[in-house]
């Protein structure tokens, strides 16, 4: 059987969906998704904090799962749907969690905020996740905030959850 093993310096073509739009990337095999998002696609919302999967500042959604973009090869994303912080607002309308972050002042320097928000959205969209404070803190524990905005982040999440639940109820009532 003939195997076509690419030599180390070849460029790979990777096709994926990014914030709802098809994108074709030409990247070296060892290109990391986080670096490609920031340096090649100029989407600076996703932040590089520790670059080793510990701080969560680089959290993005890959096929609906919150993952650290710093520990993912761009090549692994072939055929996948990636959502970054830039893709959350719809037609200029902020996501309820983004509104809640503003209302509750859930940031200081803002560096961890995109990652916090992406993790919060994944948590809010998880039907199996427990919603008590301890469970929320645990679910969000992969996102560090060196400015210490944790309490306000937690309040924002609770507020956004109430907002989303009330939206869902209103939609349920419509014919």
């Amino acid at each position: 059987m003939q195997m076509s093993l690419s030599p180390p310096d070849a460029t790979l073509t990777v096709r994926l969906i990014l914030n709802g739009e098809p994108v074709t990337l030409e990247v070296p095999p060892q290109a990391i998704l986080l670096d490609v998002l920031r340096d090649q696609l100029h989407l600076g919302g996703t932040k590089k904090g520790c670059d080793h999967g510990q701080c969560g500042a680089c959290t993005v959604h890959v096929d609906g799962r919150a993952v650290n973009a710093c520990l993912r090869l761009a090549a692994m994303c072939e055929g996948q749907a990636i959502t970054t912080i830039e893709g959350l607002a719809e037609k200029g309308q902020l996501h309820p969690i983004q509104e809640a972050f503003l209302v509750h002042d859930a940031y200081q320097c803002g560096y961890c905020s995109p990652g916090q928000i992406m993790s919060a959205v994944a948590l809010l969209e998880d039907p199996e996740a427990a919603t008590d404070d301890a469970a929320v803190r645990d679910a969000m524990s992969g996102n560090l905030c060196r400015c210490g905005a944790y309490r306000n982040i937690q309040a924002a999440i609770a507020d956004a959850r109430r907002h989303l639940e009330s939206n869902a109820q209103q939609q349920g009532r419509q014919p």
Binding site: L5, S6, I32, H52, G53, A66, L71, A75, E78, S119
Partner: protein
Amino acid sequence: MRPFAFSRADSLETAVEYRQAEPNSAFVAGGTTLLDLTKLDVMRPSRVIDINALPLEGIERLGDDRLRIGALVTNADLARHPAVREDYPLLARAILAGASTQVRKDRKSVV
């Protein structure tokens, strides 16, 4: 990051053949350990073989009280599986006590 080559395995046979053809290659599932250590130059694969397309996501109760766990099962999915919650609650608790949401949900080869 030291350059390496990349291949995507479309079958178990292909994955094994790629690995045998290049002894200094490494499989990648979630990549949370491989890429962490490769960035530190601790692991230096000449080629990374992506196994995420392989049919290895099953969690299966075997007749003799054992559980067969596919290599592509994520830590999070394993911890919330009914069979694990019922029969191996300590395993579920141990998994959920480790890493972070992002790392647990990412594909991780379960040893």
